[in-house]
Subunit: 153 residues, 2 copies
């Protein structure tokens, strides 16, 4: 089954790594990297060693990019791709992954909200004029905390 690649690819469009990179909006090295991490289907090779990519690969890379935009790590994306490939995957398995990511995101938002709140308080406490001598922001960071403000919540 290795001898007639010509046969196999006769009727479909194939691409070289640079073309895929351009079409998918990633770097050539990134494609090699994804291949090594098994995030994309291992492409066949020409006798010269050149990789033979198809539209399938381009779609995979786009899948990866969309999942990344939703905050999935490459490891998580690999799991998703495995779910996608596995015939026995159920809808609820996929949903579970999404729900876990959702929890992550909510938690991160909460952390950032607390940080934002503290920053606002610090900024508001500082008139923005005068020397740093009594800058309440530095004071708070120094922990001397004359104002009774406390950074840890």
């Amino acid at each position: 089954m290795r001898q007639n690649l010509e046969e196999k690819y006769r009727d479909i469009l194939t691409f070289k790594v640079g073309e895929v990179a351009r079409k998918a909006g990633v770097n050539k090295e990134t494609l090699r990297y994804y291949e090594k991490r098994k995030l994309i289907t291992k492409p066949d090779r020409r006798r010269s060693g050149y990789r033979i990519f198809t539209q399938h690969h381009i779609d995979q890379v786009k899948f990866i990019k969309r999942a990344q935009e939703l905050g999935f790590t490459l490891s998580e994306i690999k799991e998703l791709l495995e779910l996608r490939t596995d015939e026995n995957t159920t809808c609820s398995e996929v949903r579970t992954e999404a729900e876990e990511k959702y929890k992550d995101v909510v938690e991160k938002i909460e952390d950032l909200q607390r940080i934002k709140k503290t920053l606002v308080e610090l900024i508001d406490s500082c008139s923005g004029s005068g020397p740093k001598g009594d800058c309440p922001i530095l004071e708070a960071l120094e922990g001397e905390n004359k104002t009774g403000r406390n950074l840890r919540n």
Copy 2:
């Protein structure tokens, strides 16, 4: 001025790296790392090479940790520390740093809110039952997007 360290430290408490680590809640190697990155004042050394730390260093590390909790990177913290040391620093310079960090945080929150919204839509679109054949989550990631949903906002 190097000869009489004994003189210099006669009346103040000094600490070895392990003590500082314990008191400040960091690792010994982290202290070396901070020293290398010039985040803490370079400690004097005994003739043996042992570092001589004081309460000042402990306070610096605590400053660093508080600033980290607010999302400042070590590079940004270095700037803050320089502002703190510089006699000519004005309050408004410090406030500007805080305002920039505030903007970063707000932006990150916004990104995550968008991500969260998309995840919720995906999760809601999926009944959680049945095989993955028509899992709307995978469909959306695949970009086929029969539902007209679009991940990019």
